[in-house]
């Protein structure tokens, strides 16, 4: 704008915004009150109408400016070939963008399949780990708070670039600490070596199969099977090979399982104690009690975590940007929808195409959320005032 200094610029804009918001508070309040007066409301009700709209105005105005209008425009653009960079007016394309994305765009298909992979393989791992931690914490012992804090901390640090770069360092194939520990453990215990190599084999076969689904070509799978059981000195190729990129993201997901853990913990707390006590009197072991009492009663929470985790998987952006950015042969093996949206919109400035992608993401998330809301009354009771 007119002011060169970026700090003063934003301070001035913020001050103007505050003035604008206060003005719209009054405007909306007066408008609502005069409507109330015309419909013959009592003076007390008129006052409340004014106050209600006055205080709610920031959200109402923001909703119009930053949600309704953008959504409307993007819906319109999604049917055109609008680009920011080109001077020509946008052409109306009809459903062309949607048809291309859904039927022809291999990167978009890759992003859906990658999300599916994260959902099918990553989420069960993450939930199992979260459940394990929750069950351990539920034993109610001294120092529980410290443990709970340390399990939740990764969620706070979560997707900060700095922390992700630390993972990048730890996941280095040659000198990274994780592979070095695997290496020294393999040398010390031959049994561990077999165990880790069979996991590597399992992971590479499944990842190659998924990549095959993606591209329609199964030569990578054939290659993995032809190579056979991994050699003695093999380690995971975390951030190096397209077969491993998704596994690294899953590792980060498992690390950030703190939210799921807290939700499971709330679920475990809601299980009536009497049930466990009665079963204990009847001589049930704690293993039996977990699978026969706790687990069935936790299923709504599991379902909730599954749905929320799926939405989160659709939106993963930072790990891919930090770990794989610009590494072209690798990035397509782990691309998520939001990453693809960012790539498409900001490397080519294809606004029309990007808008169509965002509407597809929106519809997918809405479907998943509606399923979640539909089942939500099974897990949470809203105490609506």
């Amino acid at each position: 704008m007119l002011i060169d200094n970026p700090y003063i610029n934003v301070l001035v804009t913020a001050a103007l915004t505050v003035v604008f918001i206060i003005a719209s508070c009054y405007a909306l309040g007066f408008l609502a009150r005069s409507i109330a007066r015309m419909s013959g409301a009592s003076p007390k009700k008129q006052e409340n109408t004014f106050a209600g709209y006055f205080f709610a105005a920031p959200w109402i105005v923001g909703f119009l400016i930053f949600v309704v209008v953008p959504l409307g425009f993007s819906l319109y653009w999604s049917f055109t070939d609008y680009r920011v960079t080109s001077a020509e007016p946008a052409r109306w394309l009809g459903f062309e963008n949607y048809r291309t994305i859904l039927l022809k765009d291999s990167s978009f298909r890759a992003s859906i399949l990658n999300t599916l992979y994260l959902t099918v393989i990553g989420l069960p791992l993450e939930m199992a780990f979260a459940l394990l931690l929750a069950v351990l914490l539920n034993q109610k012992m001294r120092g529980e708070r410290v443990f709970r804090m340390s399990f939740y901390l990764p969620v706070i640090l979560g997707f900060n670039t700095a922390v992700l770069l630390c993972w990048r360092l730890m996941l280095n194939t040659g000198t990274g600490i994780i592979n070095q520990m695997i290496r020294s453990a393999s040398q010390a215990f031959p049994l561990f070596s077999y165990f880790s190599r069979s996991l590597i084999f399992l992971q590479e076969v499944s990842a190659a199969f998924f990549l095959g689904l993606n591209t329609g070509k199964y030569n990578l799978l054939q290659k993995v099977i032809a190579t056979g059981f991994p050699a003695e000195n093999r380690v995971p190729l975390w951030v190096q090979s397209p077969l491993w990129t998704k596994m690294s993201v899953i590792l980060l997901m498992v690390w950030g399982c703190g939210v799921m853990m807290l939700i499971f913990l709330a679920g475990l707390n809601n299980i009536p104690r009497e049930l466990h006590e009665a079963a204990e009197v009847d001589g049930a072991t704690s293993w039996q009690r977990f699978w026969r009492i706790s687990f069935p009663l936790l299923t709504p929470y599991i379902f909730y975590n599954l749905v929320v985790g799926m939405i989160a998987a659709l939106q993963i952006f930072e790990p891919i940007f930090v770990l794989y950015r610009d590494n072209q042969p690798i990035v397509s093996s782990t691309i998520t929808m939001v990453y693809y949206l960012w790539q498409k919109t900001f490397s080519h400035f294809e606004i029309g195409y990007g808008s169509a992608i965002s509407w597809i993401i929106l519809v997918i998330i809405m479907i998943v959320t509606i399923i979640q809301f539909y089942f939500q009354d099974r897990w949470v009771t809203y105490d609506v005032y």
Partner: protein, 281 residues
């Protein structure tokens, strides 16, 4: 005989498992600090270096002389403060409207607000980018800060509203009799009583804004405007074979410290409200 020791054994096993899990979960943090004190040779060495043999603060002194890093730090603090202040106050005002005033249309507006939780922020980035481009706001902090001033964050409004709704009605009614206005009641009575949920919300907002990478990446296009996440991501140069790991990890430690401090003070409120609402930091 065995029966007597069984509970003790179980307790020990539990602590061993939990301590093991804690070590695993906090390992990246330890590794970050340890690597920041190493030399370049040590971070790239083929053997395991748990703790640096001769801890060096070289990377720290270097980064405190790095103008770009310092500016990025200042930018982050500046941007978080400004965004947090406006977002928090507007959220508090809107929550007041949803919890303490009876007005026609309240339920409809509240339902609309809850339904915006379904809209992923990313679905809006394309049209918002075009909008801010029209305003000539690309290359300024405005797109990162201004949207929050319009009570950005439906989940936060919901959290605060639930709390405010539980405050006894008699408080504002007696203030009304004394002739106080809604603005006075909101600011002088309701706000001080909501200190705990406000702390929770500010922590969530702080973490979200501090960690945000996508929006600053889109809108801040020159180095002198970069916030920490964007600047730190440029330290890692994908085209080089050896990365300056001690420097990167030093920047990482300094970026993480505010998060850890805030979490340490607010964890009591956070852990409870997450369990209640399923919200995420």
């Amino acid at each position: 005989m065995m029966k007597k020791y069984l509970p003790l054994l179980k307790g020990i096993l539990l602590y061993v498992l939990l301590t093991g899990a804690t070590v695993l979960m906090s390992f990246p943090l330890f590794w970050m600090i340890s690597s920041s004190l190493k030399t370049l040779q040590e971070t790239n060495s083929p053997g395991i270096v748990w703790v640096p043999r001769q801890p060096t603060l070289e990377a720290y002194t270097a980064i405190f002389h790095n103008q770009n890093f310092l500016r990025a730090y200042f930018n982050s603090v500046f941007y978080v403060t400004l965004a947090l202040a406006g977002t928090l106050i507007s959220i508090a005002a809107v929550s007041y409207a949803f919890s303490r005033i009876e007005w026609p249309g309240r339920n409809i507006v509240f339902f609309l607000m809850l339904s915006t939780m379904m809209i992923p922020a990313q679905a809006l980035i394309v049209p918002q980018y075009v909008f801010f481009n029209k305003l000539h706001w690309i290359g300024t902090f405005n797109p990162l800060i201004i949207p929050g001033y319009f009570a950005g964050g439906a989940a936060m409004i919901f959290l605060l509203r639930q709390f405010m709704a539980q405050i006894p009605r008699e408080l504002d009614e007696s203030a009304f009799v004394d002739g106080a206005s809604h603005v006075q009641i909101w600011w002088n009575i309701i706000m001080p009583l909501s200190a705990a949920p406000l702390a929770t919300i500010s922590t969530f907002l702080f973490v979200g804004i501090w960690n945000n990478l996508l929006t600053p990446l889109m809108y801040l296009q020159t180095v002198d405007l970069y916030t920490l996440p964007v600047y730190v991501s440029t330290l890692y140069n994908i085209n080089q074979t050896t990365q300056p790991w001690p420097t990167i990890m030093t920047a990482a430690v300094l970026t993480t410290i505010p998060l850890i401090i805030i979490f340490f003070f607010a964890q009591r409120y956070i852990l409870e409200s997450v369990a209640v609402s399923g919200l995420k930091g």
